[in-house]
Amino acid sequence: MIGPGQVPLISLVGVTKRFGTGEAAFQALKGVNLDILRGDFMAVMGPSGSGKSTTMNILGCLDVPSSGSFVFQGHHIENLGRDQRALLRRRHLGFVFQGFNLLARTSALENVELPLLYRGEDKRARHTMAMAALDKVGLAPWARHTPAELSGGQQQRVAIARAIVTEPAVLLADEPTGNLDSERSIEIMELLTDLNRNSGITVLMVTHEPEMASYARTIVHFRDGMVDRIERKAA
């Protein structure tokens, strides 16, 4: 379905992942092939243990494949070292987790500023950019509040603001609505859709719920450590 001349943003070819060694070894991924186009909104579905998170961790450069190739923006990155992967995450990737993972006792603003600190932005730039990101997720008035003072939906929106403040190419979200009720979940999905459509961010999201997956343009089904089938919606 990929049109001629359209180079995928990310391409996994024959990616395997093996955990442990010897008797205890476990083959979590058994040869994953996957092309992700720039600007796609992709939902990853599949039964528990089918390798969704493992794949997301590899795509997010938090982990490395045991074998196979991983091409990102035309570069082979399956053999990058720890620090090189960290730099890649810093520059091109944003993360949203199921458990929000905000720093406790730290204001929403400071949480969103955190990635900018590692990019070496000065205090003023950090403040301006973080406020803009919080504004995008509709939480500018809550900038001074700590996570404990925010609802789950608000916390996840702060986490999204933190993920997009560096204007990443790809936003990776592993079950971002797993801890939220359906109303909050829909708010989050609308936010992700908006970021995908209007900010041009490629969104990769793991979900169990077909209702959430329906927001995506592409749905990838995993089974037993392999891609089972891919659904693509007509544009």
Binding site: G60, A86, F95, N101, P115, D122
Partner: protein
């Protein structure tokens, strides 16, 4: 956006975070750094007092000018002896030292008795020294008002006297003592001169709390005998005072009929030796306290390492978040190192403040000059920071090497 400015910002932010963390756990932080507080406090207080003591000894010795040897009957404490009290010196002994020993600038006999000095309604318990002008020469002791004794007055043993500045202050206040009649116990004397202030002696005694009369007058009218309690010898600085001491000892042994093999029944004190002894005592004390402080600092360092390991475990998820959003290993390491250093520096600072208070107080109590030494304080502070680096290194490296995926899963 250069690497250095990013690290600088990271250090600044980490320091801020560290201060926040310390404020959040005030008691825990204080207990953690207690070892460092005690270590820095002990060393800085001791070194400061030591410097004060050596300054005071130095002032004392340089105030005396030439070396002063004091010869007393009896053995020095700790050298055994006992038995019969050794005989006092005779006037002939004084003459013999003056005539037969090279390198002495002045030799003076001293008879001593304590008496109550009374002038008008005021009275003051003091020491009356029977002496002569040579006594003043030997100790480089100047007369600031009035005059010294004349040779005739010394020979005749006239009832005249010189007053030390402490006595003058207590009996005369602002009035000039010259020409007044001072009662000393049952006798009286005419004050002909006032002595310069000499300050503290090596053992804390007040050198200025004294009245000086011609020795003949003291012997005849106060002590009632011809005993000489001490011989004061001024030594020429060009000579080795050890040699002079040996010559005097040999001469006195002969004059006092001490057979070879028997111990001296007199003791020679050297002002320089006293100064050296005091300095070496201070040095020894400083070494002991430094050893205690080193142990204390070690314990403090281990405390910091322990609390930082606890902190790394408590904040595993935070570390996971930082790594996931792109923090490099060495940046996480830097953050925890800065925390450890801030913690230990706070300990060092508390120690310095306590040491400042204690040294001011103790200097006053021990009557020592307070000498603030910036280098000592700076070194101690830098050392406390160094302890943070050394003992914070291992926990910081552990934080930096965490696997982000596992760290994020940590509960």
């Amino acid at each position: 956006m250069t690497g250095t400015s990013a690290s600088t910002r990271l250090i600044a932010t980490s320091a801020l975070l560290a201060v926040r963390a310390i404020r959040r756990h005030v008691l825990r932080s204080f207990l953690t750094v207690l070892g460092i507080v005690i270590g820095v406090f002990a060393v800085v207080t001791m070194v400061t007092l030591g410097k004060g003591a050596s300054r005071s000894v130095h002032d004392e010795v340089s105030g005396l000018g030439a070396n002063v040897l004091t010869v007393l009957p009896g053995t020095a404490p700790g050298r055994g002896g006992g038995g019969e009290a050794p005989p006092p010196f005779k006037l002939e002994d004084v003459d013999a030292i003056r005539d037969q020993i090279g390198g002495v600038t002045a030799v003076a006999a001293q008879a001593q008795v304590s008496a109550t000095a009374v002038f008008n309604a005021a009275n003051w318990q003091t020491t009356v020294n029977g002496a002569d002008n040579a006594y003043l020469d030997a100790q480089n002791w100047a007369v600031t008002a009035g005059r010294r004794f004349t040779g005739d007055e010394e020979k005749a043993g006239k009832s005249i006297c010189l007053v030390g500045s402490t006595v003058a202050k207590n009996l005369y206040a602002n009035q000039s003592p010259l020409g007044t009649t001072l009662r000393l116990g049952s006798i009286s004397c005419t004050v002909v001169g006032a002595l310069a202030t000499r300050g503290q002696g090596g053992f804390g005694q007040d050198n200025d709390d004294a009245v000086i009369m011609p020795i003949k007058a003291v012997q005849r009218r106060l002590t009632g005998n011809r005993e000489i309690r001490a011989i004061i010898v001024g030594a020429d600085p060009a000579y080795d005072s050890k040699d002079i001491q040996q010559s005097i000892a040999a001469l006195l042994r002969e004059r006092r009929n001490i057979r070879s093999g028997k111990l001296d029944d007199f003791t020679i004190f050297d002002s320089k030796q006293i100064a050296d002894t005091l300095a070496s005592i201070t040095g020894t004390l400083t070494a002991i306290v430094s050893a205690v402080a080193a142990i204390s600092l070690l314990v403090g360092g281990i405390g910091i390492m322990n609390i930082m390991l606890v902190s790394v475990t408590e904040r595993t998820r935070e570390i996971g978040i930082r790594l996931a959003i792109g923090a490099l290993g060495h940046e996480v390491m830097l953050q925890f190192l800065v925390e450890a250093v801030v913690l230990s520096c706070v300990g060092g600072l508390i120690g310095l403040v306590l040491a400042l208070g204690a040294s001011i107080g103790l200097s006053r109590l021990l009557d020592l000059p307070f000498v603030f030494d910036p280098l000592t304080n700076l070194t101690a502070f830098a050392f406390s920071g160094l302890i943070g680096v050394i003992f914070g290194y291992f926990p910081a490296r552990r934080a930096a090497s965490l696997n982000p995926i596992e760290a994020l899963r940590h509960e």
